[in-house]
Amino acid sequence: MEILSALIVLTLIKATPIIYAALGGVISERSGVINIGLEGMMAAGAFTAAIVSYATNAPLLGVLAGIVAGGLAGLVLAIAATRFKVDQIVAGTGINLICAGGAAYGLVLVFNQPGASKQVNALGPNYWVLVVLAFALAIALQWLLSRTPWGLRVRACGENPRSVAAAGLDPLALRTFAVTLSGALAGLGGAFLSIGELNLYSDGMTAGRGFIALAAVIFGRWNPLGATAASVVFGLFEALQYVLQGKISWLPADAMQALPYIAALIALAGVTGRVRAPASDGVPY
C-alpha cells in the first residue's frame, strides 16, 4: 500500500511539468504552429525561475518570472513563424539551442559556476498548488477551446486560416497570441522543475520533457484533457523508475532511465491512423 501511494504522488509530481508543456503544445498546434521549441521554453522558465528566486528570495516571483521567460521565448517563435514565415521546425530547433545555451551562459554570469545554479529558495511543500493548477488549467483550456468564440477562432486558424481572415479576423495575431501562451505554459512547467520539484537549475534538467509533451499532444489527439491523460501516463513511467529501483535485480537503474522515453516511442507508434492533426498544423499563413 505504501508503495502504491508513493507511486501515485510521484506520478503526479513527474506528470505536472509535462502537462504544462503539453497544454502549451495543444494550444500552439491547434492554432496551426508546431512548437518544437517547448523544450527550450521549459529550460528558459526553469532557469529564470531559479535566478529570480535566488535574487529576491521569493519563489512565487520566480514562478511568475518563469512564465514570462517562457512566454518571451514563445513570442520569438510566434514572430518567426507568423511575420517571417520561417520554417517552424527550424525556428523551434534554433530556440531550443538559444535557451539551453543562454541558460548555460547565464549560470556562469550569475553564479560564476558552470553546470548548475546554487541552491535557491523553492516553493517547498506549496508545490502541490502547481500540481492542482495543472489539472485545473487542462479543464479550463478544454472548455476555452471547445466552447468559446476564441477557441473556435484558434481551432479555425489551425484548420483553415483563410476562413478566419475571410471572417474579418487576423489569423496571424491569433497564432501569435496562442504560441506566446504556449511558451508561457511551458515556462511554468519549467519553473515547476527548478523551484517546485527541486531547488536549483542545472543544465539539461528538462531532459527531453518538451518532446515527451509533444508526444503527449499527439497521443492525446490534440485535446487538452487527452494530452493531460497522456502526460500522466508518461509521468507514471518516470515515477516507476524511482519506485522500482533496487526491486528488479536484473534491470539496472541506468537502464530504467530509458523507461519514459520508450513509453513515448510506443505511444507515438501506437496511435497510427487513429489521429488527425489540425489540417494547417505547421503550414505558414
Partner: protein, 340 residues
C-alpha cells in the same frame, strides 16, 4: 537573387562575430583579447589546427547524415544517439577482437555504420509504418541510446582497468593512422570528405538523389509520380543514421581509442546548425564544419583565457539558425520593395 540571399552565409558569420563580441563584453573581456584567444587556440599551431580538424571531422559526419535526411524532408534530430550507438558497437567490438589490423578497423567502421543505421532506421520504420513523427522519435532515441550505453559500459562492457564508464582501450594497431604527426587528427577526416563528395554526386546525378529531393520538396507530387515514399523514408533515415554512426566509430578508432559515455559534447546537435548553415549542400557543409570546428576547439581556449563559457556557443548557434531561416523572407521583401 538579392545580396542578402546570396551572401546569407557571410551575413551569418558577421552576426556571429558581433554576437560573440557582445558576449565577451558582457563577461567583462575585450573582444580583441577574446578573439585572439579563440583564433590562437584554434589555428595557432599544428597542435591547435589538429584539434580544430578533429572537431571538424566529428561534426562533419553527423552533419552529412542530417543533410541527407533533411533533403528527404525528414527532420533527424537524433544524430547524437545514432553517433553514440555506432561508437558503442565499434568500441565494444574493437576491445574484444583479435584479427589483422586493417580488417579490424574496417569491421569497427562497418559496425559503427550498422549501429547508427539501425538507430536511425527504427525512427524511419516507425515513420513509414505508423506515421510516427520522426522529430519526436529520433530525439527520444537519443535518451534511450545514452541509457543503453551507460548501462553496458558500467557493467558487461566496462574495461577491466577503466576508471569511468568506458570500454577497454583498443590495441594501438587498431587505431586509424594520424594525418598530422603528434596530433590526434586521424584519417577519419579523409573518410568524411569522401562521403561529402559521394553525397554531392548522389544528390546531383542519381535517381535516388532525385527521389530524395522530390520527396522533400513536393511529397504529394512525388507520390503521384510513383515514388515509394515509405521505402524512401526508412531508407533515408537509415542512411542518415549510418553516416552519423560511422562518425561515432571514427571517433573511437581515430581519436579516443576507446568508447566513453562522455565521447560527444553534443556533436549531433551542433551538427544540425552545421547542416543548415551549409545550406544542405555537402561541400558547403564541409566549410561550415570547419567554421564550427574553430568555435569548438578555440572555444575551449577562449573559455580558459577570456572567461567566456564554451556553452555560450549553443546560444550563438541557435541565433544563427534563426537568422539564416529568416533571411529568405527578408530577401524576398527587399526584392519586392525594389521592384515597386
Amino acid at each position: 537573387m538579392s545580396v542578402l540571399h546570396r551572401f546569407g552565409g557571410i551575413v551569418a558569420v558577421l552576426l556571429v562575430i558581433v554576437l560573440m563580441s557582445l558576449a565577451m563584453v558582457v563577461a567583462g573581456t575585450s573582444p580583441i583579447d577574446g578573439f585572439s584567444a579563440l583564433l590562437t587556440g584554434a589555428l595557432g599551431g599544428s597542435n591547435q589546427l589538429g584539434e580544430t580538424l578533429v572537431a571538424t571531422t566529428a561534426l562533419l559526419f553527423p552533419a552529412l547524415g542530417i543533410c541527407l535526411a533533411f533533403r528527404a524532408g525528414l527532420f533527424n534530430i537524433g544524430a547524437e544517439g545514432q553517433l553514440i550507438v555506432g561508437a558503442l558497437l565499434a568500441g565494444a567490438a574493437g576491445a574484444q577482437m583479435h584479427v589483422a589490423a586493417p580488417l579490424a578497423i574496417a569491421i569497427m567502421l562497418l559496425l559503427g555504420a550498422i549501429g547508427g543505421g539501425v538507430w536511425g532506421g527504427i525512427a524511419g520504420w516507425m515513420k513509414a509504418r505508423f506515421n510516427a513523427n520522426e522529430i519526436i522519435s529520433t530525439l527520444m532515441l537519443n535518451f534511450v541510446a545514452a541509457s543503453v550505453a551507460l548501462t553496458l559500459v558500467s557493467g558487461p562492457l566496462r574495461g577491466p582497468l577503466a576508471t569511468g564508464a568506458e570500454t577497454a582501450w583498443l590495441p594501438p594497431q587498431y587505431w586509424l593512422p594520424t594525418l598530422i604527426p603528434h596530433t590526434r587528427l586521424s584519417a577519419a577526416l579523409v573518410l568524411a570528405l569522401a562521403i561529402a563528395a559521394v553525397l554531392t554526386w548522389v544528390f546531383r546525378a542519381t535517381v535516388f538523389g532525385y527521389e530524395l529531393n522530390a520527396a522533400g520538396e513536393a511529397p504529394e507530387a512525388a507520390k503521384r509520380n510513383g515514388i515509394n515514399i515509405a521505402r524512401l523514408t526508412w531508407l533515408s533515415l537509415t542512411l542518415s543514421g549510418a553516416i552519423a554512426g560511422l562518425g561515432g566509430a571514427s571517433i573511437v578508432t581515430g581519436e579516443l581509442h576507446r568508447f566513453n559515455t562522455q565521447l560527444s559534447p553534443g556533436y549531433g546537435f551542433t551538427a544540425i546548425a552545421v547542416a543548415l548553415v551549409g545550406d544542405l549542400q555537402p561541400l558547403w557543409i564541409c566549410v561550415a564544419a570547419f567554421g564550427f570546428g574553430i568555435l569548438e576547439s578555440g572555444g575551449l581556449a577562449m573559455q580558459a583565457s577570456a572567461q567566456v563559457p564554451k556553452d555560450a556557443i549553443h546560444l550563438i548557434e541557435g541565433l544563427i539558425i534563426l537568422v539564416l531561416a529568416a533571411r529568405r523572407y527578408v530577401a524576398t521583401r527587399i526584392e519586392k520593395g525594389q521592384a515597386a
